[in-house]
């Protein structure tokens, strides 16, 4: 028992000493090579990050790109197979397309609803309400809960006989439908996941947007008043443009987070062939779960995911010129 901790403590001490040594050597040796003292100090200070970047980011990216072109289970050396993994994923993997569809639809549904709702809450809180702090604490609460706790809670709430269905049963009978079994009936998996995600991230986006709203100078609203504009004009021509950089930021983070969604797919058993599961779960499954170690195949899949994230982010950046307003820009 105790040796587990000791082993890690030793590793930790060795790594810390190693980093410290590299920092010290950088600080001492670079000036002798003619580097200015100030520059040498700077390099020494950023050394932990630089080493980490090389070991834990740069090398792994290259390695994973290489693995993605190989057939590699960890027991045999990687064997180069060219584009086979990619071709197999895109044409023959029965799990891939349903999962891509689920992941993207999940993002497309949960992001706009979540952001619009968060902006609404932020605008309510930005009015002169009493106890802004208390409301903010409350609304942010779900975001600090462990993701796993949120998932388990909603799995329970959205069970066929869960609280959600009991509360909404009058509406179901009004619509003439049976109680949905959210996470077992394929038609309801996606809405169920979206409901769960909305509860989880709503508050953090609202808090970020609230901070953005508070930065809007009051005189802009007063100008609209003087011109005789109403609430809609204020929203459309002051609030929205002024908060658009913050919206943009939350949107980008939201896109990345949505594509990376992992935990819900692991706790809620989704059938990857029919309803699809989250891409990240699929990658995990291929690389680590159930005795699988298709490292090459999983690496290829993670590269596809990276390309999707990059494409979506770029697309959002491209459109941002049309709707994101930076105040400093036009002066």
């Amino acid at each position: 028992m105790l040796e587990w901790y000791l082993l890690t403590l030793t590793d930790y001490a060795i790594a810390a000493a190693g980093i410290g040594l590299v920092m010290f050597l950088t600080y001492q040796l670079l000036p002798r090579l003619g580097v200015k003292r100030e520059a040498a100090t700077g390099y020494a200070l950023i050394m932990p990050w630089l080493l980490g970047f090389l070991i834990w980011t740069a090398y792994p990216i290259l390695a994973s790109l290489y693995y993605s072109f190989t057939d590699y289970n960890i027991f045999q050396a990687p064997k180069w197979i060219g584009l086979d993994n990619y071709v197999r994923i895109l044409t023959r993997d029965p799990n891939f397309w349903p999962s891509l569809k689920l992941t993207l639809l999940y993002g497309i549904l949960s992001l706009p609803i979540g952001l619009a709702g968060a902006l609404g809450v932020a605008m309510l809180l930005a009015r002169d309400v009493r106890g802004t702090g208390v409301w903010r604490t409350l609304y942010y609460l779900p975001a600090v809960l462990p993701a796993v706790a949120v998932i388990l809670l909603w799995q329970w709430l959205l069970g066929t006989n869960g609280l959600f269905n009991v509360v909404f049963s009058p509406i179901y009978s009004l619509l003439g439908m049976a109680r949905p079994s959210w996470f077992t009936d394929e038609r309801f998996v996606l809405p169920g996941l979206v409901i769960m995600s909305l509860w989880g991230v709503f508050g953090s986006n609202a808090v970020i947007l609230l901070a953005g709203l508070k930065n809007i100078p009051i005189h802009l609203y007063e100008a609209v008043d003087i011109d005789g504009g109403g609430a809609w004009t204020k929203f459309r021509h002051v609030t929205l443009p002024m908060v658009s950089p913050t919206l943009f930021y939350t949107l980008i983070l939201g896109i990345i987070a949505a594509v990376k969604t992992f935990e819900p797919g692991l706790f809620i058993k989704l059938n990857p062939r029919t309803s699809g599961t989250f891409l990240q779960v699929l990658i995990y499954g291929n690389a680590f779960a159930g005795g699988n170690s298709k490292m090459g195949y999983a690496s290829a899949m993670s590269w596809i995911m990276l390309v999707i994230i990059l494409a979506l982010t770029l697309l959002t950046f491209r459109t941002s010129a049309a709707w994101v307003y930076y105040e400093g820009e036009r002066r």
């Binding site: 403590l9 930790y12 810390a16 834990w56 980011t57 792994p60 809180l125 990376k260 993670s302």
Partner: protein, 295 residues
């Protein structure tokens, strides 16, 4: 709003005041509705955790558990080696947190205060790694740890933190270091202090709010880290709380899931985070909003 009505005639004032009043009422109603949406599930989590197994699916649902079964908490604590899970979680969180904070602070100080060739390019790289999904580096990182013989140990979950693995923390701290006037350091240099002294005794105390914000976020991130332990740990004795919960959820039968136990575990697991949040929520919000607004 009050400012807007100041110059207007009295009659108009009365009607805008009513309008204002109605607006206020609607605002509070909407806020209360939102509060209900957030609090009812949380209440249900606690209430379920105190129910007897036979009362889980009673209709209409029991709002206040009858009887209140405190034993559920003792049961879940003993069904699973929960004490061990907690020790593991605390061990991993403490090591990862301290490594992360110290290394990120050093790096941020370097970026904020010293001129060196390539600094701006490197800093853009820091920001770029913020966008990179960790899945892409996960498999090679796993293979590195495997070749070091460190699978099924806590090392992969903690040692990496020493390499300043939180790019957003570097960013946040750098923003804070930039706001500190240079004269303070210059005075210290004249007095003969060296870099480490200045960093440790002068700069760090000055960015204490940012450090606390990072500490809180880092605690939160490490405490809730799920994928790391899932990939690296196999022996149940080494599990952190979150993995114990996952294992327990997986061991339940579909027919009779013990939701009262699950909710009790969820409460136990969330409690440290919630306590921290209520004590230090200022720092949570500080850390959260800095990227979106100041950046």
């Amino acid at each position: 709003m009050a400012v807007a009505t100041r110059e207007q005639p009295r009659i108009l004032l009365a009607s805008t005041q009513t309008q204002h009043r109605i607006g206020q009422i609607i605002t509070y109603l909407l806020l209360l509705l939102g509060a209900a949406v957030i609090l009812i599930p949380l209440y249900w989590m606690i209430s379920t955790s105190l129910k007897a197994e036979t009362k889980l699916f009673v209709l209409p649902p029991q709002v206040i558990p009858d009887p209140i079964v405190w034993r559920n908490y003792i049961d879940v604590w003993t069904i699973q080696p929960f004490t061990g899970y907690f020790i593991n979680t605390i061990f991993v969180t403490a090591l990862a947190m301290s490594g992360e904070i110290i290394s990120c602070a050093l790096v941020a100080y370097g970026f904020a205060r010293f001129r060196f060739p390539g600094r701006d390019v490197l800093f853009i790289l820091v920001l770029a790694t913020m966008m990179l999904p960790n899945i892409i580096t996960m498999i090679p990182a796993f293979l590195i740890w495997r070749s070091l013989g460190r699978i099924d140990t806590f090392s992969p979950l903690t040692v990496g933190a020493l390499f300043a693995w939180g790019p957003s923390f570097i960013f946040l701290l750098r923003q804070f270091f930039l706001t500190i006037p240079r004269e303070i350091e210059e005075a210290a240099i004249i007095d003969g202090a060296n870099v480490i002294d200045i960093f440790w005794k002068i700069m760090l105390p000055l960015v204490k709010p940012a450090l606390l914000a990072i500490a809180v976020l880092s605690f939160n991130g490490n405490w809730n880290n799920f994928m790391g332990p899932l990939i690296y740990l196999n022996t149940p004795g080494k599990y952190p709380v979150i993995l114990g919960l996952y294992a327990f959820a997986g061991s339940l039968s579909k027919e009779a899931p013990k939701w009262h136990y699950m909710m009790a575990m969820t409460v136990i697991m969330s409690l440290p985070i919630l306590l921290l949040y209520f004590r230090a929520q200022k720092y949570f919000i500080e850390g959260l909003t800095v990227g979106g607004v100041k950046g």
